[in-house]
Amino acid sequence: MNAVHQPTPRPSPETVPFWEACQEGRLILPKCDDCGSFWFPPSSFCPECWSPSWSWVAADGLASLHAFVVFRRQYHPAFEPPYAVGVVHLKEGPRILSRIVAVDLAKLQVGMPLKLTWDQADEWKIPAFQPF
């Protein structure tokens, strides 16, 4: 039987630096040099003020759980149910979709504090979050 591979990202040119930083264990976000907004997904202009001047800034990895689901049906051979996926509200402002790991699924709660951890998929490091 062949090894089951977890799906891996297919980055766009704008997101390559984000994924490269992930491989070094850093979660980085675009931050506007003019209005100070953070945003996600990465793009060439600030979506708030449309400034083209911005920088990659490391997120501190703290977040809260905006919403979550628990997969009961198997959609992909690499993801054995049950498992949780959530919309994670980063302290810096943006929200990202993430695995919620190292948690008793019955204890998941909207609003619960989360911290950054990493999930490994083949050669890829994927950001994930866990309660603390």
Binding site: D34, H66, A67, V69, R73, H76, I96, L97, Q109
Partner: protein, 404 residues
């Protein structure tokens, strides 16, 4: 660089359009498992039926607006070829389940601008057949086809399909407002009861709240009964001026109001999961029609999932934000309730044809086309909704029964 205003004042709908155009024909294909027809073939059948219903012929049509599977490029060209029609105005729409109402809106705008006179609108997709043609694909029947999946920030975290995306919203609504599985179940049960009165509906078995709770889990908080069906099917409607409608075969159904709103910043942004684009889309439609939610006799709401009905009941103002659960659980949505909703069975129990059947059902209710057990008594006003792109884009249509 100038800072863009976060939200400009809402523009004013043009009240002069109120009741100026009408839906004069509706038609559908067989629904459910229709292995003998392609997406285009299903829509061809529905469009022919809609034209027969209107009593119009090919020579009368000079506009075609449609939508089908995302893997059919320039879908309207393919339809025009099958219909044997050139058109003064024609396009394919790409707003998911908001497209079907949007096609009616666009038809009104195009006719009003003098681009065309009679517009054939429709949607068709062989959703069941394309996922069951080969038994090896039976294992996974995603409602989101592969061409719609994002290339990153999705599958690598285990996120798959439209069920999970909408379940996120239900999870947040439950946390914020105490909405329960009983509340979601009340919606599934009410629509199934309506489907049992509809011979064309896919679902033929009764559904009790107890049976609902025992449904196969898919993605918590949704089980199989929270999810709409996988349907081969198509529907079409014909739009022209109300003036012309007076001379046609059917009781005209007037397009009294419409509106759109698009939460393009996405499902995760702000409170979009629990305060959907239905709110502002509906405000516009009600303003154009000059009526209020309490004037609506029947609502045909886009029910891709139970929760999406619940939040729309709030967003359209049928009840307060947070009260959608108790409102649904009160029995309000049943055919003899305070707001008869999805009286054909909806996408949860009649068949999922991306909202076009909801327009058709609204029209038939206002024509008083049904026997008493299926007919909303004295229905004069109907609200129809559609949303797409995981509830990012929303469109609303308010219909009124026209004069005899």
């Amino acid at each position: 660089m100038a800072r863009q205003k976060v939200m400009a004042e809402m523009s004013n709908p043009n009240k002069a359009l109120r009741g100026k155009y009408a839906i004069v024909g509706v038609g559908q294909s067989d629904l459910g498992q229709v292995p003998g027809q392609s997406s285009l073939g299903l829509l061809n059948e529905a469009m022919h039926n809609a034209m027969d219903d209107a009593g119009l012929s090919k020579a009368d049509v000079n506009g075609v607006i449609c939508r089908g599977p995302d893997d059919i490029y320039t879908h309207h060209q393919r339809m025009g070829e099958l219909l044997g029609l050139d058109a003064e105005f024609s396009t394919t729409l790409d707003n998911g389940g908001a497209s079907q109402i949007l096609s009616v809106i666009l038809a009104v705008m195009a006719i009003d601008a003098g681009m065309c006179d009679v517009v054939l609108c429709g949607y068709g997709r062989d959703s069941w057949s394309r996922t069951h043609r080969d038994t090896s694909t039976k294992m996974s029947v995603p409602l989101v086809p592969p061409e719609q999946e994002r290339s990153e920030f999705n599958a690598e975290v285990g996120m798959f399909g439209a069920v999970a995306m909408h379940a996120l919203g239900a999870s947040r609504h439950m946390a914020l407002y105490g909405t329960s599985k009983d509340d979601l179940g009340a919606i599934a049960v009410a629509f199934r009861e309506h489907a049992l009165r509809n011979p064309a509906a896919q679902m033929k078995q009764p559904l009790s709240l107890e049976k609902y709770h025992s449904g196969r889990p898919i993605v918590d908080p949704f089980n199989v009964y929270d999810c709409s069906l996988v349907t081969d099917g198509a529907g079409a409607v014909v739009v022209c001026s109300a003036e012309r409608a007076r001379d046609l075969r059917q009781t005209p159904v007037l397009i009294s109001g419409f509106g759109t709103f698009n939460n393009l910043r996405g499902w995760y942004y702000d409170e979009h999961m629990t305060d959907t684009a239905a709110r502002r889309s509906g405000e516009k439609a009600f303003a154009m029609a000059g009526i209020r939610p309490e004037d609506i006799d029947t609502a045909q709401l886009y029910d891709c999932f139970t929760y999406m009905v619940l939040t729309q009941l709030e967003d359209y103002g049928f009840c307060k934000k947070g009260d959608g659960g108790p409102f649904a659980a009160s029995g309000a949505l049943s055919i003899d309730g305070a707001l008869p909703c999805n009286t054909s069975g909806g996408q949860l129990s009649e068949g999922h044809v991306e909202g076009v059947l909801q327009i058709i059902e609204g029209v038939r209710q206002l024509r008083h086309a049904y026997d008493s057990e299926r007919q909303v008594t004295d229905a004069e006003w109907a609200l129809v909704s559609g949303h797409g792109g995981n509830t990012v884009c929303h469109s609303s249509l308010i219909l009124q029964r026209g004069g005899e």
